[in-house]
Symmetry: C2
Subunit: 360 residues, 2 copies
């Protein structure tokens, strides 16, 4: 199963919106087939493993990181393929997290006389697909807020000057994080100030197959994204989310290559929980938030941030520089937001802190 | 020598203003005597080791973490004691860092026919006494700034509310840091706002012998320290440093138990470099800075901070809360202060980051 998880992880930049899945087929103590799911629409892990095992799959045990599907999606159901190949035993790490289908793939296998076990290394398997699991269970994507700050918690000078806070290793790390995300969310303020690309730029030896560009999502309440914004000309889609129903501006942005989603406003701002539901409906598993202090703070106060990844650069910028989170209303110590720090590690000359709000 | 360094470290809370020194005496491959310097005014490490070795010191090798003294201070010179005991060989980790005496102890030993070696584990030996070494070489103490902040770099709410940012393990760690310091420096703003004790509170199993209270130093330009400040009633001395020559107020503070040092003002503020020279003259090796953002920033901008120890609590306090360093004039990215992060480790639920300004 550990090997199947290893295989599954190889799809992390390419499988979304599908989950990463790995499969190993073992016959008389020997591995006779291996496979992983490489890209949505292409063969699932089980099919790839069965193909590599050939006739050796008869009477064998299949180790799969996720319950085999029992429904016809873009590909035929894997449960039937395992039955047809004559597999004797199927061990899965976890059931399908979609409560409406959970267990039906395993039941189909059992009904065909196959021995079925479930729950082996389930924690590790779930960690392969935290966003997929959350979307299936809660109808909301997993949101990671990426932040970069000096040691004294500053993101930019008072003037807005901010480029190159962290070093090149941290920036590469950010691109890997983007590559594993389904969508990158930013605010129009960042677009107007920095005209960012918000695309994935990886070295060729860092991924297999074709590079997938995450959906770029710009929160733009008054539709002020310029039609010549750099990101609109790059490979991949851009979705502009607004509370402004200006048809003329929507048409201009559409013509420039952007999709526009109009959401009813909530307290004079974009309805963030509704936006998350809409993104889940678009099969967005993992959202990466790359925004300034206002939107980061609003997302945090709305309870929508699951994880924050904070790059700490070895600098001091002083109290007049800009901070990380604008949290209006937080005025007393007992209102402060508690975190659980999961990991701190060096990334080049910088440090990366991974933390979660403990209320989530 | 590694054992001698271990012994030396046992004196870290008690030897100041003297350095920590350890000594091991080896005869035919066996340890026959051990000792360390426990307290200024009492026997040095070599004397303690010679006493424990007795007659076995004849023809033996003495390993000492610091060059034996050759002058009469509060105790007779150790070089003479080693000669008298008939030691055949002396190995020292480092020479006396005071450039005016460096090597004279070793020369005395050589002249008496003793084989002398120097420089064994010198880095480790120097790390035992960074403040002592700095004071001897540069006439200035080593300054460590202790800071406590939320993950987003905040020390207190806008209102000033700030107690209990970090957990109990971090607070115990701070007391150990205080115990190893010769002086704790704070600003009068902290005294007026929090009326702190600034004393060392350690569990009994954390130290040997009697607990030494570091000198408390309050930077108080206009002599506004209240005569009923809590720290004036506690064991240990308090030194109030001012630029204000108000004799009546000085007398009141003296009567309340404080010493007062009047320094000529420099640009309308206390002359910080001069203060450091004065503290060195008072045999202060290691200074711990526990102050708010204004004095921390001023010390940093004056280049007087050697090391910062930042406790990071797993909380977010938001952008309206108070920051770490007030750094007036720092307005552009290229003016930011570069750090070298030496260490990051968990302390209970908090994290401790040790860093140095790279210009220092």
């Amino acid at each position: 199963m550990a090997r199947a998880i290893e295989l599954a992880a190889r799809g992390r930049y390419t499988t979304p919106p599908n989950p990463c899945v790995g499969c190993v087929i073992v016959q008389s103590g020997e591995v006779v087939g291996e496979g992983w799911h490489q890209r949505a629409g292409e063969d699932h892990a089980e099919i790839n493993a069965l193909k590599s095992a050939g006739s050796a799959a008869g009477g064998a045990t299949a180790y799969v990181t996720l319950e085999p599907c029992s429904h016809h999606g873009r590909t035929p159901p894997c449960s039937q393929a395992l039955i047809k190949a004559g597999v004797a035993r199927v061990v899965v790490a976890m059931e399908d997290p979609n409560p409406q289908v959970a267990g039906s793939g395993l039941n189909e296998l059992r009904e065909a006389g196959i021995t079925v076990e479930s729950g082996v290394l389930s924690g590790e398997a779930e960690a392969l697909n935290p966003g997929f699991v959350k979307r299936m269970r809660e109808g909301r994507p997993l949101v990671r807020s990426k932040l970069a700050m000096s040691l004294d918690g500053r993101t930019a000078m008072a003037s807005g000057e901010s480029v190159w806070i962290t070093g090149s290793d941290a920036r590469r790390d950010v691109h890997r994080m983007r590559a594993a995300s389904c969508a990158i969310v930013t605010g129009v303020g960042t677009v107007l100030a920095d005209d960012p690309s918000l695309n994935v730029r990886l070295e060729e030896d860092e991924y297999e197959g074709e590079l997938r560009q995450p959906l770029r999502v710009v929160l733009d309440p008054r539709l002020s994204t310029p039609v010549d914004a750099k990101m609109l000309k790059l490979p991949g889609r851009t979705l502009i989310v607004t509370a402004c129903d200006d048809e003329e501006q929507v048409e201009l942005l559409n013509a420039a290559g952007a999709d526009v989603l109009v959401l009813p406003a909530r307290e004079d701002a974009i309805d963030l929980p509704e936006l998350m539901r809409q993104l889940a409906a678009l099969e967005i598993n993992e959202v990466m938030l790359e925004t300034g202090a206002t939107l980061s703070g609003a997302m945090l106060q709305a309870g929508l941030i699951d994880e924050m990844v904070v790059y700490v650069a070895p600098h001091l910028m002083g109290n007049s520089a800009r901070g990380l989170f604008h949290l209006p209303g937080l005025e007393q110590m007992d209102q402060r937001i508690d975190l659980k720090i999961d990991d701190i590690r060096a990334v080049g000359d910088d440090w990366r802190i991974t933390a979660r709000p403990t209320v989530n």
